[in-house]
């Protein structure tokens, strides 16, 4: 039988996002407009959040602007951000 390696992709459903971010302690700053995208430094919101990953500063939020998604993909390719 053919062996197929599996790559897991962590995801959160849009409607569970608030709960997940609350548990990480970033929901309040996000709601207050104090959280920003790690790459473009624009305000991150629940509506424009593409994803989040852990880094030295805590939880890095990434907005859904094409440039920021592209930067994130570059970090995935180098292994600086992991799936």
């Amino acid at each position: 039988m053919e062996h197929r390696e599996t790559t897991e992709l962590s995801a959160v459903l849009e409607k569970d996002l608030e709960q997940a971010l609350d548990a990480l302690g970033v929901l309040e700053p996000l709601r207050a407009g104090q959280a920003c995208c790690r790459f473009c430094r624009q305000t991150a919101t629940l509506a424009n959040l593409f994803g989040y990953y852990p880094d030295v500063e805590g939880v890095a939020l990434v907005c859904d602007s094409p440039t920021c998604i592209r930067t994130l993909m570059d970090l995935l390719r180098t292994g600086d951000v992991k799936l």
Partner: protein, 395 residues
């Protein structure tokens, strides 16, 4: 109001006699056992909600997994040695604390509701390709090469899908790259040209897969990236080649990518069944430390049988193995016009292909190779092969 009127009204709303009795039973339970009825309703509601939630998640996951895995399986089946990785969507636990999240050290992607699946699919595809497609080779490439490779691969996947999917991809990725990274798009254009003649997956991706499996004792990223650039240029020249043009190089001797294309399409030799000049030439090719030889010719039955005979004889006599055969569609230049053809390819690989590059090997073979021209002239011009025995490349 009589019972018959009530029954008529219920029937009007589509509730027949069994439904009427069920409704009556529910009402009786609600009145007779109100507390138990409420608890039962709560359990049913929670179950329904959970089923709905799980159903939506499952539907999103299956949608993404199905499409991506199907594509990867198809792509991997064309590349010898490529591991057919598959994606699995794992829903994060919403109660994960910050400490647990840091320990897990993973990106979490926000998935839109099921009604908005197209963007989910595009994002998941790009993330998966970035991580799982040629992971080892991409670590040796430049940012431009890596980005172009992923962008073109995603485009070939998404082009097969209809409508909004492609629009999301064009909006979120393609357009952005085109506007801000022209070098990436130039390379994507090269890949498109190579793909036009059908050699993107069976030759270029195959070579990258091979390079990814090599082990270096020192940082060789610059050399590999340079090698890949010249390989792409070599394949572009081949893609622009007109049938019968014997001035285009068919051999690429880089430091780590060493391959040769050999066209088998000469009618006179085919009629005579004369395989000897080809086998002699294959020996010459592998003596020059070429690792992969791609025999290419028209997919007409008499021609591919002739090609198979050459490959069988060559593998019998020389330290090489036949690793793959495939038919593929392509578009070649005939008298200045692109013509669609069905081609046949046999991939022969040296049994002496190098995996570990230590200092001694590099000193003997790699450093001299860097001093030479990376893209050698067409083998037909090789003086070591007598003109009479040289196979023609007049495909």
């Amino acid at each position: 109001m009589s019972w018959s009127t009530v029954l008529t009204m219920l029937k009007y709303f589509g509730i027949g006699t069994p439904g009427f009795f069920l409704l009556g039973l529910v009402l009786y339970m609600a009145i007779k056992y109100p507390t138990r009825f409420t608890k039962l309703l709560a359990i049913l509601m929670a179950l329904g909600y959970k089923v709905f939630k799980a159903g939506e998640r499952k539907a999103i996951a299956l949608n993404i997994e199905g499409k991506v895995n199907d594509f990867v399986h198809n792509a991997a089946s064309q590349i010898t040695g490529m591991r057919a990785a598959q994606v699995r969507i794992v829903w994060t636990d919403v109660a994960t604390t910050k400490a647990e999240f840091v320990a897990q050290d993973r990106l979490v992607i926000n998935m839109k509701r099921f009604a908005n699946q197209d963007r989910n699919f595009v994002h998941a595809t790009m993330a998966f390709i970035a991580v799982a497609f040629l992971p080892r080779a991409k670590k040796l490439l430049t940012v431009t090469q890596r980005s172009a490779l992923d962008l073109y691969t995603a485009q070939t996947l998404l082009a097969e899908q209809a409508g909004p999917l492609l629009e999301h991809f064009l909006d979120d990725f393609w357009g952005n790259e085109a506007a801000s990274r022209p070098k990436v798009m130039e390379l994507v254009e090269d890949f498109y040209l190579i793909d036009k003649v059908g050699l993107f997956r069976p030759v270029l991706i195959q070579e990258l897969e091979n390079v990814g499996r090599k082990v270096f004792h020192r940082d060789r990223r610059f050399l590999v990236a340079t090698d890949v650039s010249t390989l792409v240029r070599f394949l572009c020249r081949y893609a622009k080649r007109s049938v019968g043009d014997e001035t285009v190089p068919l051999r690429h001797l880089g430091a780590y990518c060493r391959c040769q294309i050999m066209i088998i399409a000469r009618h006179a030799r085919l009629v005579k069944g004369d395989i000897e000049p080809y086998v002699t030439f294959i020996r010459e090719v592998f003596d020059k430390k070429v690792e992969n030889l791609y025999l290419i010719g028209p997919a007409a039955p008499d021609n591919w049988e002739f090609m198979n005979a050459i490959a069988t004889e060559a593998t019998r006599r020389l330290p090489i193995t036949e690793v793959a055969t495939k038919r593929y569609p392509g578009s070649i230049l005939v008298k200045g016009r692109r013509t669609k053809v069905e081609s046949y390819l046999i991939h022969l690989r040296s049994k002496e292909s190098v995996t570990y590059f230590d200092r001694d090997y590099e000193k003997e073979f790699i450093i001299p190779a860097l001093g030479e021209s990376r893209t050698e002239p067409a083998p037909e011009c090789d003086a070591s092969v007598p003109a009479s025995s040289r196979p023609s490349s007049s495909a």
